[in-house]
């Protein structure tokens, strides 16, 4: 039981629990807060995986920016609370859960079937190098400069789109 394993179990459990809670809570604000928790524990997992930059970005962008935005909208609209998870159309929901569970089982089965571990490297140094800001930056501004630009335009378009859509009237 190294620290790595302990941390993985810790973050993994938080991830799972917060995800399930996020989906099942009737109050959207609570859901959103659980989602923030989930994102934060994901950031922890990223750190275990030596992806420091992504972990930081996860906290800043997701848990910070996007989720705040969500909370802002929830509070703005202040929608009524839903009924409790299984109160409304329970049969359909159980059916859905069963189906999704079956998909999950298939996925897990396939993951183990494929033995992905065999083709993976075990060198920590490589994974550490892969996660540095330097290597990400180099890749991004050399090989991936075009997608990077595209992402920039996408964000611009989304900004404009959001402005247009959220404007009160179209006059």
């Amino acid at each position: 039981m190294t620290l790595e394993v302990i941390l993985f179990i810790l973050f993994g459990l938080i991830c799972i629990i917060s995800a399930v809670l996020m989906v099942t809570r009737p109050n959207p604000i609570i859901s959103a807060l659980f989602l923030v928790l989930n994102f934060c524990s994901l950031a922890g997992l990223y750190l275990i995986l030596n992806a420091q930059f992504i972990a930081v970005a996860q906290v800043i962008v997701y848990a910070g920016a996007i989720m705040v935005f969500f909370l802002f909208v929830i509070m703005l609209l202040n929608p009524e609370k839903e009924k409790r998870f299984l109160e409304h159309k329970p049969k359909l929901k159980i059916f859905t859960i069963v189906v999704v569970a079956l998909v999950l089982i298939q996925l897990i089965y396939m993951i183990f079937l494929a033995h992905p571990n065999d083709s993976m490297t075990n060198k920590v140094s490589e994974s550490v190098n892969a996660g540095t800001i330097e290597s990400i930056g180099r890749e991004m501004f050399t090989n991936y400069v075009l997608p990077f630009e595209a992402a920039g335009y996408l964000l611009l378009a989304a900004t404009i789109g959001a402005l247009v859509l959220a404007k009160k009237k179209f006059e």
Binding site: T96, V99, V100, L102, V103, Q106, Y109, M110, L113
Partner: protein, 657 residues
């Protein structure tokens, strides 16, 4: 002049184009009349020239062909616009252009003042154009062009006064009837042509006829060809059962009746049969059919003619009857006698019609003979010429009708048997009777038109003042009268003129040489018999003339008594054996109603289109039901998607393990 024969076709065409295109702008009856008449006068001169030239040739070179240009050339079918100048076509051209010219001149007077004067002459010229094509054609197809062309002109001219009423319907209905009935005949003609082409591989007369002799063709093929062609002739020449259009054709202006429905077009069928003599001669059964149809038509039409009261109707049925005679001659194998009758008939029947036209003209379009009477003193020329024509058609020697009709009767006796002769004789008696009934009621006896306030005819309420027609109309009458008198002398029977004394017969002999060679089985009879029969027929005709005089001039009451005594028979005759009604009820009505109610409204709209539309509706309704799956709730779509993923993954796992 033989090489110039195409002018006989070209000039009428030019005349048609001139009158048709420039006519409405010129509006001068003089110019139009002169152009129209000379468009046929010049061809007459050309024809005479060609005749003279042909006469100068030796007998075996009298068949000349003048080719203009190629018409249709496909595979083995090679057809030209080319004109055959031989004895038969020259004779017919002379009749058509000669009588045609006279009638054109007459028309100038008759149609005077008509608002569509130009149109009338344009149509007449077009008719002559088509007729000349029919006559001069050197192949079946070109003949058919003329054949349909004259039908068209007949249609146009019958419906010339398209806004007038005629009997129970309109003139245009009469025209349509004529065209359609003619088309039924043409249908047979077409089949005949197809059969000729598939049998002989050509449609050119000279080739077909020489191959008909040379090829070993089974007789039933000949019979079929002959019968198919005869259907065409039946339509065009108004024989049973397709004669119904001719009486209605009287809706047209009278000169049209004279030209088209008496002198020229209706004899086209006879001409065609004579032209194809070799085919008919090779098919004895078909000959018999032709003869039977001919004699029955002659007889039937004559009986109808006995009781008609419309002056033109009487003449129309007389025409049908005389055409029956001509077919009787054809059926008897007496081709040249038939053609002879075509010629004399053209003279006297045209004369009768023109005379009738003159009467109608002066009586302000009244056509009912019961409203005439005593016109002799008002219109002397018309009266005299009409009398000549009536005598001629009755077969009184030495007028032209006697020679031709008697020849036919003689041949029907010698080649077909006594029954044909007897029927022919009775028909001749009827002919003489109704012609003189017509004559007496029109020109002799009391004036019935002057009855005060009674005469409603022509919409005139005042007293009529009959008057002789202008010179432009009487001169043609006189010319035709002369022709009716002397026309017969070129065909004096051999018993009077000696061996080869019959000029007409020897002139046409080369044309019918092959056919006569084929029909060698004709039995010979003595001259004595011929003479006896001749006397019998003349006596019969003369007696029925006197009978008619007795009834209609001396004691009109007898006629009344007859018609009331035999009311049933009288009505049947007056209504033409109800043939029109039978056709209407048995063919026209069922076809129109059937087409409308069954074919169109049920088969087409309900069944075929209904099937298509219900297929479309089926797709529509299925989709309508399916679309309910699209609830519009995005989550249900996603659920289905997940199910799809489930299945897809399952499939992948199965295939990997």
């Amino acid at each position: 002049m033989i090489d110039l024969i195409y002018l006989t076709v070209l000039f009428p065409l030019l005349g048609f184009l001139f009158n048709g295109i420039l006519g409405p702008k010129i509006r001068s009856e003089k110019v139009i009349g002169i152009v129209g008449s000379s468009a046929i006068g010049i061809p007459f001169i050309v024809t005479v020239g060609a005749l003279i030239q042909t006469l100068s040739l030796p007998v075996d070179q009298r068949l000349n062909i003048a080719t203009l240009f190629q018409w249709i050339n496909v595979a083995g079918l090679n057809i030209n616009f080319s004109y055959q100048v031989d004895q038969l076509s020259l004779l017919m051209s002379l009749i058509v252009t000669g009588v045609g010219f006279i009638i054109h001149v007459y028309s100038i007077g008759y149609m005077h003042g008509d608002k569509s004067f130009w149109r009338f002459f344009a149509y007449l010229n077009l008719f002559i154009f088509a007729m000349m094509n029919l006559i001069l054609a050197d192949n079946f197809l070109l003949l058919f062009l003329g054949w349909e062309g004259v039908g068209l002109c007949s249609y146009l001219l019958i419906g010339f006064w398209y806004d007038r009423k005629f009997e129970n319907s309109t003139t245009s209905s009469a025209g349509l009837k004529a065209f359609v009935v003619n088309r039924i005949g043409d249908f047979g003609f077409l089949l005949g042509m197809f059969l000729i082409y598939s049998t002989f591989g050509t449609l050119v007369f000279t080739d077909v006829f020489s191959r008909a002799v040379a090829f070993d063709v089974p007789e039933h093929i000949f019979t079929l060809i002959a019968l198919f062609l005869f259907i065409g002739a039946v339509g065009k020449s108004a024989q049973i059962p397709l004669f119904v259009w001719l009486p209605d054709a009287m809706a047209g202006p009278t000169p049209v009746s004279a030209l088209i429905h008496a002198a020229t077009m209706v004899t086209a069928g006879v001409y065609m049969v004579a032209r194809c003599n070799i085919i008919y001669a090779s098919a004895p059964t078909a000959m018999m059919v032709v003869a039977v149809f001919g004699i029955f038509t002659a007889f039937l039409a004559a009986t109808i003619g006995l009781v008609q009261n419309d002056i033109k109707k009487v003449l129309a049925y007389s025409t049908v009857s005389q055409l029956g005679y001509m077919f009787l001659a054809m059926g008897a194998g007496a081709f040249s006698a038939g053609i002879f009758h075509v010629m004399t008939h053209a003279f006297f029947k045209a004369l009768l019609f023109l005379g009738a036209g003159s009467v109608i003209h002066s009586m302000h379009e009244a056509q009912d003979i019961r409203k005439y009477g005593g016109l002799k003193k008002y219109m002397p020329v018309t009266y005299a010429t009409f009398l000549i024509a009536a005598t001629a058609i009755s077969g009184i020697p030495p007028l032209s009708g006697f020679f031709s009709k008697d020849e036919i009767l003689w041949y029907s006796y010698s080649n077909l048997g006594i029954i044909f002769w007897l029927l022919g004789l009775i028909t001749a008696m009827f002919t003489a009777f109704y012609m003189f009934r017509l004559y007496f009621m029109t020109f002799e006896g009391q004036e019935k038109f002057s009855a005060k306030g009674g005469s409603e005819v022509g919409g005139d309420h005042h007293k009529l003042h009959p008057h002789e027609s202008p010179k432009l109309m009487t001169v043609p009458l006189i010319i035709l009268a002369v022709l009716s008198i002397i026309g017969g002398f070129i065909g004096i029977p051999e018993i009077f003129s000696g061996e080869h004394g019959n000029i007409f017969h020897s002139w046409l002999a080369p044309v019918f040489k092959l056919a006569e060679f084929k029909m060698m089985n004709i039995s010979s009879h003595s001259h004595f018999e011929e003479l006896v029969l001749m006397i019998v027929s003349v006596a019969a005709a003369a007696s029925s003339i006197f009978f008619a005089r007795h009834i209609y001039l001396k004691k009109p009451a007898i006629a009344e008594k007859f018609s009331s005594g035999f009311k049933g028979a009288y009505n049947i005759l007056l209504n033409k054996y109800f043939i029109d009604e039978v056709y209407e009820a048995s063919i026209v009505k069922p076809m129109v109603k059937g087409s409308e109610n069954i074919l169109w409204k049920i088969a087409d709209n309900k069944m075929i289109d209904g099937l298509i539309n219900s297929l479309a509706k089926l797709v529509g309704s299925v989709s309508n039901n399916i679309r309910k799956i699209q609830t519009g709730v995005a989550q249900s779509y996603a659920l289905v998607m997940i199910l799809g993923i489930l299945v897809a993954l399952f499939w992948i796992i199965i295939s990997y393990s």
